[in-house]
Chain length 188, copies 2
Amino acid sequence: MSLRERKKAKTRALIQREALRLFREQGYEATTVEQVAEAAEVATSTVFRYFPAKEDLVLLDHAPRFLEALESAPAELGPVAAVRHALRELAASRTPQELAEGLERERLMLTVPELWAASLKNVTSMIATIRDTLARRAGRDPADPWVRDITGAVVGVIFAVWLDWAKDPGMDGPAEIDRALAALEVLD
Amino acid sequence: MSLRERKKAKTRALIQREALRLFREQGYEATTVEQVAEAAEVATSTVFRYFPAKEDLVLLDHAPRFLEALESAPAELGPVAAVRHALRELAASRTPQELAEGLERERLMLTVPELWAASLKNVTSMIATIRDTLARRAGRDPADPWVRDITGAVVGVIFAVWLDWAKDPGMDGPAEIDRALAALEVLD
DNA sequence: ATATTTATGAGAGTAGACTCCTATTTGAGA
DNA sequence: TCTCAAATAGGAGTCTACTCTCATAAATAT
C-alpha cells in the first residue's frame, strides 16, 4: 500500500470519524458539511470528493463480512440456523476493539433517529441481500413468500433486540440475539 | 362546518392530491414544491402554510384504529393471533376506496427512502405501543424479552410483506400478511 | 353596510447541499 | 534532483427547501 493510498484512507477515516462525532453531539441535520470539513481540517470540496453525499458519511460497512459468513454457513442448516451461525462467526472474528467501535457506531445510529433515517437506504439494500442469500441457500426463488417471511421475522427480531441493546449497553447483545433467533428456528 | 373551513379542507386535499400525483409520475426528489404549487394552482407559500415540510405532503397514520382493534381482541388469543384478528377487523372496516387510497400512499412511502425516513419516528413509536399492548394482553412486563421478540418478528414479517406489496400492487396484501402471520402462530 | 378577522398571492431573502474551476501542494518515478 | 500525475484548498456559483413580509381579497360578525 503506497503512502498516497494510506494517506487517503486516513483522511477518509478522519472525516467520517469527525462527522459521526458531530452528528452525535449536535444532531445530523443541525450539522453542516462545512462543520465536518472544519473539524477534519479539510476543505468542504474534499469531503464531497470522498463522500458523494452527506448521508454517505454514515455508511456502515461490516455488512460484507456478515454476508460472506452467511453464504459459507453449512449447507444443511435452515435459514434461521444459518443466520445464527453467521452471527456467531462474525462476533468471533472481530477483535474486542473492533467490536467496541462497531457497537458504538451502531448505538449512535440507533439512538439518533436522524442517523437511522439517513442509513435506511443501506439497511434496506442489506435486507434485500440477506433475502437473496437465504433464497439461494434454500434453492428457492427470492420472490418466494416463505423466504420473504423468514427474512422479515429474522430481521425484525434482530432489530428489536438491537434497539433494546442500544438503550441498555449493559446487556449482552449478541447472546440475546442468539437466544431470540433460537426461538425462531421452529420456522426452518 | 363553516364555509371557510370547508374551503381550507378542500385546498389542503387538493394540494396533497396533486403532490402525490407528481411524486408518482416523476419521483419525489425530482418534484419541486413549486411544481406542486403550480399544479394545485396556489402560491408556493400556501403549500408551506398547510404542510410544514415537503415530506409532510405524504404522511398519514391509521395506526389508532389498528391499536384499538388489537386492544379489544378476544383475551384468549395469543399475541400473534390477536394481531391477525385486529388486522382482519381493520381491513373489514375500511371501504374499498379508503383501502385503495391508503395503499397508494403507503406504496409511495415505502418506495421512496426519504419518505420512509421521515415517518420513521411515527413508526417506532407505533411499534413501541404495539409491544406495550401485547405485553398488557399477556400480563407480562413490556421489557420481557419474549414480548420484545414476538413484537419484532410480527412487525418484521408485516413489513416484509408490505414491501413486496408496494412493489407489486397486484397481490392481495392483507391475505398475504395473514398467511405470513399464521406461520408465526407457533410462537404464541 | 361596515368593520374585523383570516387566507392568499407575490416576491424577496436565507441556508445549506452540491458542482465546477483553478492555482497550489504533495507523493511517485526517472 | 527534476518531472509528472494526483490530490487539495479556496472560492465562486447553482438549486431548492423553507421563511418572512406585506398588500389584497374573501369570509364572518356587528
